[in-house]
């Protein structure tokens, strides 16, 4: 769906590239149909491959533990089944949080799942949240043609990121015409006669009312553990309900493991997949793989993308490391200028003693791909000088990594703590 939003964005900017187009309108039903085909392609692929695997039963239903080795599976329209296994792996994921907004249960609201099923572009979408889901959908719907207001409690968007990154993201969203309100908490919501939403927001300048046609709740996620009855198995959870695991993804009960978003820590598809690798190595290959120290790359699919891996500047400073910070505006990246994509910047954190790259934030066109280049350097423990002096094809984005680190050296050595 972000791909469709980008096409709309470029179509509107077509004249900047000397291309003439007519008025741009998005047919959300067709966008959805395209998305559905992509989803079904992935889903059917999984279905077929599971069915074709010998020794493997796919059982439909909801599982509830009755003891550490046994579950009851219930499925509407069929008898409950009792299954036992020597080893059990919990992979039930997470779902959107419902924030404490008075009246929320009495008005229609959308989450990251249901918003993808809309048939028409909302006139005015109000988004509660300032994380990646809020940003991705907020910008997407702005590009489909909605008016968008984004309400975030914190002092910045993307709470974990460095403030300069968050500020640039803020600037980009504002430039796209999104009304972003920080330090604002939604406390109450009502629906009018025509279904219009009226949200009471407490901000720095007191109470205000935000009106809109649709409400998207994107205020975080919580683990799917409610029906599992983990207590019967003796599996411990943390205070937020996530299944506690050790470094090898073992729960408090021998023989029971948790993988994916249902355990604490970064909730990304590629991390779930790596959880699988860890179990495979430890159980089937008699290895000793651990989650400690694995890289956690991620890309926020706003446009331009934010590709992130490793330490942020604030994390590195909090650890008391001696660091250098490299930063290069996308307006100085040749490829960005040629493509008319000059928003954002590249930023990398370098260890001042070892010269190794500790992390990066690439906010710019194809930021996720550029981040991966630096991630490979980190995996190979290369000093930044190898990237600074390496030959990359002209005029790729990767080539500008030369400039990123040359710019850092030109600033002189900043020994900072």
């Amino acid at each position: 769906m972000a791909a469709s939003a980008r096409v709309a964005y470029l179509a509107r900017r077509a004249s900047e590239y000397g291309v003439q187009t007519g008025p741009v309108e998005v047919n959300l039903a067709q966008v959805r149909e395209r998305k559905q085909k992509v989803v079904e392609r992935f889903r059917n692929g999984d279905e077929q491959i599971l069915k074709a695997t010998a020794n493997l039963d796919v059982i439909r239903g909801k599982a509830t533990f009755i003891d550490a080795k046994t579950v009851i599976v219930k499925h509407a329209g069929s008898d409950a089944r009792r299954l036992s296994a020597e080893r059990i792996f919990i992979n039930t994921g997470a779902r959107p949080v419902i924030p404490p907004i008075d009246g929320l249960n009495r008005v229609p609201s959308l989450d990251s799942t249901s918003i993808m099923e809309l048939d028409a572009v909302p006139e005015h979408l109000v988004v509660v949240g300032g994380g990646y889901i809020a940003i991705e959908f907020g910008q997407m719907f702005r590009r489909y043609g909605s008016q968008v207001t984004l309400i975030e409690r914190g002092e910045q968007l993307l709470a974990r990121e460095d403030s300069d990154v968050a500020e640039e993201v803020y600037k980009i969203l504002r430039e796209d015409g999104i009304d972003v309100r920080l330090k604002s908490t939604a406390s109450r919501v009502e629906a009018g006669a025509q279904g219009e939403i009226s949200l009471t927001v407490n901000g720095g300048s007191g109470k205000s009312t935000v009106k809109g046609s649709h409400l998207l709740i994107a205020a975080g996620r919580r683990p799917n553990v409610d029906h599992l009855n983990l207590g019967a198995a003796g599996v411990e959870m943390d205070e937020k309900g996530y299944v506690k695991v050790n470094d090898r993804l073992e729960t408090s009960v021998p023989g029971i493991y948790a993988i994916g978003d249902v355990k604490p820590g970064p909730a990304f598809t590629h991390i779930s997949y790596d959880d699988f690798r860890i179990i495979q190595i430890n159980l089937l290959q008699k290895g000793d793989a651990r989650i400690e120290g694995r890289p956690v790359p991620y890309t926020i699919f706003m446009d331009p993308q934010l590709g992130r891996v490793g330490l942020t500047e604030k994390e590195a400073r909090a650890q008391g490391r001696s660091i250098r910070v490299a930063k290069l505006s996308m307006a100085r990246v040749a490829r960005g200028i040629e493509c008319g994509e000059t928003r954002g910047f590249m930023k990398a954190i370098v260890d001042a003693e070892t010269n190794q790259i500790l992390g990066c934030a690439i906010l710019g066109m194809e930021g996720g791909e550029v981040m991966a280049v630096l991630q490979v350097a980190m995996m190979g423990q290369l000093p930044y000088t190898v990237i600074r002096d390496g030959i990359f094809a002209h005029p790729t984005l990767a080539e500008s990594l030369n400039n990123l680190f040359m710019a850092m050296d030109a600033q002189g050595l900043h020994e900072e703590k």
Binding site: I49, T53, N55, L83, R87, I90, G260, F276, L284
Partner: protein
Amino acid sequence: MAAEQSYGAMVIGAGQGGIPLSMVLARAGLRTAVVEERYLGGSCVNYG
């Protein structure tokens, strides 16, 4: 209720970790069950 079925391994939830895991466990010779309430593929594929 039907009689208990016993497995070597059971994966509850067919997400992006659970699907490949259930396959390698089955291929390694363990009788394996994967229990899924709704769609195969997990959050990223199905729920956004």
